[in-house]
Assembly symmetry: C2
Homo-oligomer: 201 residues x 2
């Protein structure tokens, strides 16, 4: 019977997948914070980091969020995350980039922002540090990864660091534990739908 065959094949595939997953989990040894990079030109990089913050809060962890570039529209995340005692939220990039058009001023803002980031990266009470849109600050040469990486790699063992933004430099990719590239296969902006509150198009 066709249906039985489909069910049997499905069960065999699932059993194999379960074995593989169990093996991966058993083999993995290290229990330490990871350096995660979310890059690429597709949407969802910052959202993904904020979703990870939500998960971390669900586990009672303490989270620091530093936004290096302000979004062109109010996106609600500051309002949302600021209500939690376990979250430190810093919108560093107020008036950045195309709204200001002043390179030296932008660079000074970014450097002051990094001094703040460094404090969290040295704080064992902070379980997760989100450096949102840091890659953009790197791409615009406001900051240089070679100058920052020591602070990131020296963070407390258990602390997760999440860095987002398009154009992650190769040095950062080399240093990261996990790198996801978001690719835009299709974009509503092109189709003439206005950027919406509550959703990152």
């Amino acid at each position: 019977m066709v249906m039985e065959n489909q069910a049997e094949r499905h069960n065999r595939v699932m059993a194999r997948r379960k074995r593989w997953m169990d093996e991966q989990i058993a083999r993995a040894q290290a229990d330490k914070g990871v350096l995660l990079v979310l890059t690429g030109d597709g949407k969802g990089k910052s959202s993904s980091a904020f979703g990870m913050a939500a998960r971390a809060l669900g586990h009672g962890m303490r989270v620091a969020i530093l936004q290096f570039i302000k979004a062109p529209l109010d996106t609600g995340e500051e309002r949302f995350f600021s209500q939690f005692g376990n979250v430190a939220f810093h919108a560093l990039g107020e008036g950045f980039t195309w709204e200001t058009q002043n390179f030296e001023r932008d660079r000074a803002i970014a450097e002051a922002g990094w001094a703040l980031a460094r404090d969290y990266l040295r704080d064992p009470a902070t379980d997760m540090v989100i450096l949102d849109e840091l890659c953009v600050a790197l791409a615009y040469h406001y900051l240089d990864w070679n100058s920052l990486r020591g602070d990131v790699l020296a963070r407390p063992d258990h602390q997760h660091a999440i860095i987002t933004g398009r154009g992650a430099p190769q040095g950062l990719i080399d240093d990261a534990d996990t790198v996801t590239e978001m690719r835009a296969l299709k974009h509503a902006f092109d189709a003439g739908i206005r950027a919406q509150k509550g959703i990152e198009l």
Copy 2:
């Protein structure tokens, strides 16, 4: 001077980018809910959807989250989002896939889950519906996009629908407004770091 040239070039590029962004925003006319798909084999798909939920909550919106496949580890998002009155959270995929290895039972669970999803997709008071890991339920043939798409496309005009999971079928991609593919460039799992609470490796 080299520094001036760099600053001038930067300002010119930023001015051009600002013009482009302003034009895009001005040109975009429609103000409606979008169908957003987050797919691919990289990490961050569900996290991204949860981050969008956080943003939406920051705007006072009402969100329904339906998880079609339960994550192999407790990831904290249910615990986190269940505390908000504006969120309806349903973990539909309890014991799904490789933990159960029973195709017909899984399919019945998925179909019951879709009946619930349909209720939210018809509810004008729900501003955002997250169908987490639905693509996986489609890929395993628990559900068929051709049977579901009418419910999704007929939802209230302002309602956002976000569908996640690897292996989005072409029909879904064709119907979507925005599609992001998450590609794994590097994965800590390969490097022997144990899957962690509070972070999606």
